[in-house]
Symmetry: C2
Subunit: 392 residues, 2 copies
């Protein structure tokens, strides 16, 4: 198809010509774009942010972001591009999406996305005047690896593993390990891509505030993965009202963690293999799993970090009496038992109840109540706080 | 907020109750779902596939997939869920999206996405009756690392690196390196997430068909990244008709590759550091960059793999005369010069012209013409073919 000199012809021919011209410069695309390129989001110097989304046929497009003012209607221009400017927005990284005629979609112009099984969102990064603790700074960086490991029931599991700066060079050094678990519908990528755990650790290590450590981020729902690999319908996590069902899935996670993930990590990485050098933490469902896995394996973990989660008093009484029946022993065994929650989190009251329960039972713990809700902005704060406390 | 026993009340209270119930089981979510969970895509035993998308207010939803029949209208049910069943589809991994009132969106129910700066798509995985060369098999797996490296102009570059099975154990072994570059709007993740390069290599190595090698996948557009890190507007790649502009951007890529990426890799990984042990390949814009980088650095690479790309005769005559003026030398120096293209690719004719040019100039090369177009299905075929030829 020779299309040189076709510039005056119809739009489709013009598009083909552009394609051809790009090829002439040895430059071609996986998929041709439709229409002029929308740039979104645009963070301005004053920290206002303009979002744009092309949807000429939509009746309504709403910006749906985890930053004030929350949901904001966007306005369509003559080219069918919807826009809105909000802010100034406090520097941080925030999930957002566009709600198009009632359906939330990602920002197609933004490569920063929120890895998730259930919804699709994008990430707004508002940089600070000084680099924030999760920013990419000019310091030594660790690496993030995607690995597969032999999991339970003959399945293959996925895990993302952070190794600190210097790991590849210091070939005789062994490292402590922080097992870090994300929430419902999150994937093994979420603590990396949304939590920016690797950058937070890089920066804290560079500042001498955290010990170099390996961070292991497993996928939190082996029950679903196993069902999928066996060709069975996935268990409907989200609608489970049966306490036992959720407890069973958590048990499956714990079995996978203790009998498969930990041995895999200890076989393939240079790790210190004792409870003093194993921490476990997690957000939301991952926080619940953290508590259950830690309490069920006190011989394995000496550091517990619970972000935006709790266990109910009935479950503590049913399954984890040993944790509080001899508080002196627990307090000696656990080098850290840390709980963080936002005071606008929908489970704030339950988390407070859990903290009160621990207080009453004289189980030593540290709690941090922050502003905000059940968000990854708070998770980043909690990772930053706890990483400075581990293995010291 | 105590909501037990609120099951009979309004839907929003019901949703809050479900949230609370999930919390009671120590199980909470990053973001509550809206409505019943849609499962999509559903691959049936006969390899037909059902796609579903909830959009109660949309006027039109079309399945837009890189498999027959291409664009297909979906049909809305009484719950506002649009569906269609297509196929049987030949086993492979295909990009697709839903075109909702004229705008393409990802499938929110599908965690497999297409990493890209410009559009958002999902990936349909139709497994074979026997595992395909890109499937996850029960064999030793390599690892995929996300790393940062100090790039040109004081910027920080991103690169994804595959290390083969055994890399961590065989601490005295050094490996050859395949530098593999994706296309316009692709990211450094695309050869991993869409190309499944790591699984293809795992499987070929397990079968004894490929030499264990490191694969380095850099981001293909440092010019854009540098502009972004400096707070400048990104160069509008897609509309560039200026040959020089594209050549300059390719030069910037080449400088980054040769002066920053390669030294970073050779410093941090156990590599064989000579031209006989360095291969370079790429798809689309990455193929053009492959040719320019290889021809401009014949002392660095002895293996060239060009997927769905070419250089024009004028550019060859202007810049790369040395490649064809002494064909005997080139043919001795290059251990492999491989070009693959689909016969339905929009740049097929130009690729054929390039192959004919090489033939005429007596530059030895291998070419593979496959059915299909400018797709990642073809790229996976080309990676599979060439990985078996490298470093032998």
């Amino acid at each position: 198809m020779h299309l040189r000199g076709a510039m005056r012809i119809k739009p489709i021919i013009r598009l083909l010509f552009i394609g051809a011209m790009l090829c002439i410069s040895g430059f071609a695309m996986s998929q041709p774009p439709t229409g002029p390129q929308v740039v979104s989001p645009k963070v301005h110097a004053d920290k206002k942010v303009t979002f744009s989304y092309r949807a000429p046929n939509a009746k309504e497009v709403i910006l749906d972001g985890q930053f004030p003012p929350g949901k904001v209607p966007m306005v369509k221009d003559s080219q069918g591009i919807w826009s809105v400017t909000v802010g100034p927005i406090k520097p941080d990284i925030y999930p957002y999406s566009f709600r198009v005629d009632g359906v939330n979609v990602m920002d197609p112009a933004n490569v920063d996305f929120f890895p998730n099984e259930r919804f699709k969102g994008s990430l707004l990064d508002v940089p600070g005047d000084q680099p924030l603790i999760h920013a990419v700074r000019d310091i030594p960086h660790g690496a993030v690896s995607y690995a597969l490991y032999p999991s339970i029931e003959g399945s293959t599991g996925s895990v993302v593993i952070y190794t600190p700066p210097g790991y590849d060079k210091n070939k005789s050094t062994k490292y402590p390990v922080f097992y870090l678990i994300s929430g419902t519908t999150d994937t093994e990528e979420t603590f990396f891509k949304v939590g920016r755990t690797n950058f937070i650790l890089d920066n804290l290590i560079a500042e001498g505030k955290a010990k170099p450590m390996i961070v292991v981020m497993p996928y939190g729902n082996p029950a679903a993965r196993i069902a999928e690999q066996k060709g069975l319908p996935k268990p409907t996590d989200l609608m489970s009202r049966d306490g036992d069902d959720a407890v069973n899935r958590a048990k499956m996670f714990e079995t996978d963690l203790v009998s498969k993930v930990i041995p895999y990590v200890e076989k393939n990485y240079r790790t210190l293999n004792n409870r003093e050098n194993r921490a476990i933490g997690g957000f939301s469902r991952g926080g619940g799993q953290t508590l259950r896995s830690a309490f069920g394996n006190m011989d394995k973990f000496a550091w517990i970090c619970c972000y935006s989660a709790y266990l109910s008093t009935p479950e503590m009484e049913k399954t984890f009496k040993h944790v509080y029946e001899n508080p002196a022993k627990t307090n000696k065994d656990l080098k850290l038992f840390w709980i963080g929650v936002g005071n606008e989190d929908f489970l704030y009251q339950d988390a407070v109840k859990f903290i009160d329960f621990l207080k009453e039972k004289k189980v030593k713990h540290t709690s941090l109540i922050t502003p905000g809700g059940h968000t990854w902005m708070n998770v980043k704060t909690y990772v930053t706080e706890t990483a400075q406390l581990l293995f010291k």
